[in-house]
Point group: C2
Chain length 514, copies 2
């Protein structure tokens, strides 16, 4: 482990940038505390502590906001921006990321931010209730207010082409409708073509009996810890805990924590949520330690983060190369004995269905496309909130051939809108696209890392090309530098065709002997 | 649960005080975050996270310090102090506690505070090593610098009679040498008289075979959770975890966490550290919820806090009334079957020995007296650090008739000095004194709360008289108001004579039938 202060000295030499980083340190510390508070809230906090916790979080978030508005910081950033050409990539990264944070903080007046916080906090409670009761009308007025707030935010943040761009940019720096429209226009018909062939092909089952089989939670816990060992998890730098919804959070480069959830049935759900979160965590763990305590010492965007989790979950974890290891662990811990081929089919079921979070690799992006279109229309005002359930159901039937019987499995299924997260969903598909780009590079250049399940080799490959940079480059630039191209549907279509159409005929080559 | 904002409105009506509380909220939030960070550090944090954690803590502590020096806060406090007579007790409490914090923050210049932090952080590491190697010389230069820093701090903080007073006051507002000298002058000879009689009396054993007996840690965990249930622990407002050294910490009135440690041998050690921490925690849990987010919504001092832990540990937990419950749990969980009388003798061994943390109720305050005298002399300069080991050993032999064979069981045994905590030790004896005052009040007024092990009644009694007030009154004033007298040796001597000299003859009355 390099000694941070002196090593960082070699990366950040410009006096102005050093002063910016000096100021940033407190913001970093507040982020550290808020991360821990968030982690604790979801894992170990006693229930009644929630009020004190949210009071404290509100104070610290308010302070972070005020620190971003500090005129002295603005002045230093302007000073640095004037000599941008003389700065190195790390220094430029610091200036870019902080300027972006300052710009967003300035654009949204405190009054609107507070209104959004209040409305979304209530809306989340109402959404839970409305989903339980399958009653969209309950949620409608809240969603209307939230959409209105998002539209105002878009105007305040500013955009060139489409108001939705301003929101997309909050989650993925630089992502625009002009990128997503052609991407989905190519991806959606290709996906539907692939899906039709998978469904008639007969190799990938639409259901598997193990999906209904229970398991012993205590044994599953031990198995997941063993799988994390297999993946090379550094227990001195990370934790595995449990929460209602699995997540990854970092308190710094040397303290990254993931959670999973044991439902007691259909063990693949727990396994793949573990591998998914592992992908997120590995990104954080492999950031260059010299970027610690700086605004670029973190994952660069939602899309790039999701590419890492999806790569590990789908390309590595659901690939034939993983079946040997997984079948071994399932046998040892749960007494579940499955031939690798059978296991491969169990973890790769494909079926058009209503719920996004349960969707497979083939259908997943169709769920995102539906949300992308509806969000764009809500923000541009071409669909009203009260038309939403109908629009949702129609589009779902059109895309996937299934129709919700109630809003709970339709328009009310996701928590995101109650949080005000408009523009977030597309980053899931972007993540799938980037994961496929990684697959393509590996498959053409170093296929043995996958076929030989060379986990250390995969970690090093990703660390070198993506992880170590943190947020040094904007996400789309990082992808272009590291993977040699802009995100487009092509790699993802190629990956899906390979895995779901060609691989069944070549599986013997990659599956371990039974 | 009363709604805080409006309820608090009824307590804090003065406009100046309300503005002070508005400013204080961020300080509270920082304290909340720092408490959680401290808890996590000792319980669940991955090892390598320590560097990021201390970096973050340093930033947040620095900010807290700067907030206390805010001239606007000082101005508001002066404004409130000018109309003190028109304020109610809660408002006055807020002004008093914050003024004290501001005064301390102002007195110690940042440069000295930083030097102390640096030296004590190193000294703690060196102390560990020195204790392991039984090498006082290693630790000596650090201790010399620490004593010098404490003497400078005393001068900067100011005092009337004795420089040690300035340090005492840091841990116990208002406590002075002029209180402690007469207290110890009465307590020490009385204790030695009682000790002599106990040792020749033959009832309280000096050792018990169970002290060497191992136990199953997993079963002990379940037993301790059951005992917390018995004590009425509100699991929705608190936690029980494990750490190298047991402690209690609060994140607010509705989130209080205790830890214990399982050594796998001598089960009473785990049991009584649990009951001890429970006493601390109950104090926090029973503070008036309307004091939340204010500087008086916390325990008032180390001494009063310690009185709560000692009361539960010694008066309740080691009393004959507790033996029925404890023997039941020991039998259920550990298969340990003991007659209540035998159990009472096991948990009440008395022996003059070298180590403070293992000391019994009779000898404990002699250990504190030794440290009190030596600290006072170090601070006034009448003993030098290099004379300390000799002075320690001589005094130990004189007080307890035992002499350390190595500095590890003598002058190097406690961590406190390496932390720079001079003036802290006496609060332990003060805690014992106040616990005895509580016993005396109960014993004369409501003995059935003890004899009947009426735990709910005890909680209510303490909550009403002490806990609910938080830091509204200065500690010595709270004691006088609630227990009807100033802390003095009398109650503690009376308690020790009762328990160790008279009770053996009356035990049958209080012990449950076997």
């Amino acid at each position: 482990m390099p000694e941070t202060a002196s090593e960082a000295g070699t990366l950040f030499r410009d006096e102005t940038v050093r002063r910016i980083l000096g100021k940033y340190r407190l913001l970093w510390a507040l982020g550290h505390a808020l991360s821990l508070m968030g982690w604790d809230l979801e894992t170990y906090m006693p229930r009644a502590g929630v009020k004190d916790r949210s009071t404290a979080a509100e104070e610290l978030e308010g302070l972070s906001h005020r620190l971003l508005l500090d005129p002295e910081l603005d002045k230093l950033l302007r000073e640095a921006e004037e000599k941008l050409d003389s700065l190195n990539v790390y220094e430029r990264g610091v200036v870019r990321v902080l300027r972006r944070a300052v710009r967003i903080a300035k654009a949204v007046p405190e009054e609107l931010a507070r209104r959004e916080a209040r409305v979304t906090s209530e809306a989340t409670q109402v959404w839970k209730e409305a989903k339980k009761k399958a009653d969209f009308k309950m949620f409608k007025p809240y969603l209307e207010e939230i959409v209105e707030i998002q539209r105002r935010k878009a105007e305040l943040l500013g955009y060139e082409d489409h108001p939705y761009d301003a929101l997309l940019d909050l989650y993925e720096e630089g992502l625009r409708v002009r990128h997503l429209d052609p991407l989905f226009n190519e991806l959606v018909p290709a996906t539907r073509r692939i899906l039709d062939r998978v469904l008639t092909g007969g190799f990938y089952p639409s259901r598997h009996p193990l999906e209904d089989q229970g398991y012993d939670v205590e044994r599953a816990r031990a198995m997941l810890r063993r799988l994390l060992d297999d993946l090379g998890w550094p227990w001195d730098r990370g934790r595995l805990d449990e929460s209602a919804h699995p997540f990854t959070i970092d308190m710094g480069i040397d303290d990254v924590r993931i959670t999973v959830r044991y439902e007691g049935r259909d063990i693949k759900r727990a396994v793949y949520s573990l591998v998914h979160e592992y992908g997120h965590a590995l990104y954080q763990l492999q950031i260059d330690r010299r970027l610690a305590y700086t605004p670029i010492g973190t994952g660069v965007s939602m899309g790039v983060h999701e590419s890492q989790s999806r790569f590990w979950e789908n390309v590595v974890g659901r690939g034939p190369w993983f079946m040997g290891l997984l079948s071994k662990r399932l046998a040892e811990h749960l007494g579940l004995r499955l031939e690798p081929l059978e296991l491969y089919r169990y973890v790769n079921t494909v079926r058009p269905d209503l719920i996004r979070v349960d969707a497979d690799e083939v259908t997943y992006n169709l769920h995102i496309y539906l949300r992308y279109i509806l969000e764009k229309k809500l923000i541009e005002g071409s669909v009203m909130v009260d038309e939403l359930p109908q629009a949702w159901d129609d589009m779902m039937e059109d895309l996937l051939g299934v129709r919700p019987r109630s809003p709970s499995e339709g328009v009310l299924q996701d928590i995101h809108w109650s949080h005000g997260s408009f523009g977030y969903f597309p980053t899931y598909t972007l993540g799938n696209v980037i994961a496929a780009m990684i697959w393509r590079r590996l498959w053409s250049g170093s296929p043995e890392l996958l076929t030989g399940l060379d986990l250390a080799g995969l970690r090093a490959w990703l660390g070198e090309r993506i992880h170590r940079w943190g947020a040094t480059f904007p996400p789309l630039e990082l992808v272009e530098r590291s993977l040699g191209g802009k995100p487009s549907a092509a790699a993802l279509v190629e990956y899906l065709e390979w895995k779901f159409l060609r691989l069944p005929g070549e599986l013997e080559e990659y599956l371990p002997r039974g």
